[in-house]
Symmetry: C2
């Protein structure tokens, strides 16, 4: 099934408490070297048909109206590569 991925991240100037919590936890777990963490959302949309430019345009509209809050978040849309569960 063809899939489109929408990544939604907090804008750089927006405070990200979830990311900060992860950043604070890392050294306590023995991980050093990470200077910043941002946490956002990932949506995988599955389509019945082919992914055309018109479909991608519609996904951009979904991302803007439903999946993200454009005031505080930005998003990127891309086709899903075949990923293997880790």
């Amino acid at each position: 099934m063809p899939r489109v991925v929408v990544d939604v991240m907090p804008k750089p100037e927006i405070l990200d408490p979830q990311g900060k919590a992860v950043l604070g936890a890392l050294p306590r777990l023995g991980f050093v070297g990470v200077t910043d963490v941002r946490q956002g959302k990932r949506f995988e949309l599955e389509f019945a048909g082919e992914i055309t430019d018109a479909v991608l345009a519609e996904v951009h509209e979904m991302a803007e109206t439903l999946l993200s809050n454009p005031v505080i978040e930005y998003y990127t849309v891309h086709l899903a590569e075949a990923e293997q569960p880790a």
Copy 2:
């Protein structure tokens, strides 16, 4: 700054109520053609130094112990490409 991305998604056999809520909202907003939605998390980790294989191995360990719940989620690790905010 070099960045590593960790994508965490619910395993296929795990119920995903957030994704189902999005899937249900799409037709009400006039979007058709989406057959399934899965919602997960995206972490962007920023490092001070270079991203070596040792660093990536450590990110895998972070993903397994802190960023994901391996019982119900799987994760993928990859280097961040230069992305433009949309």
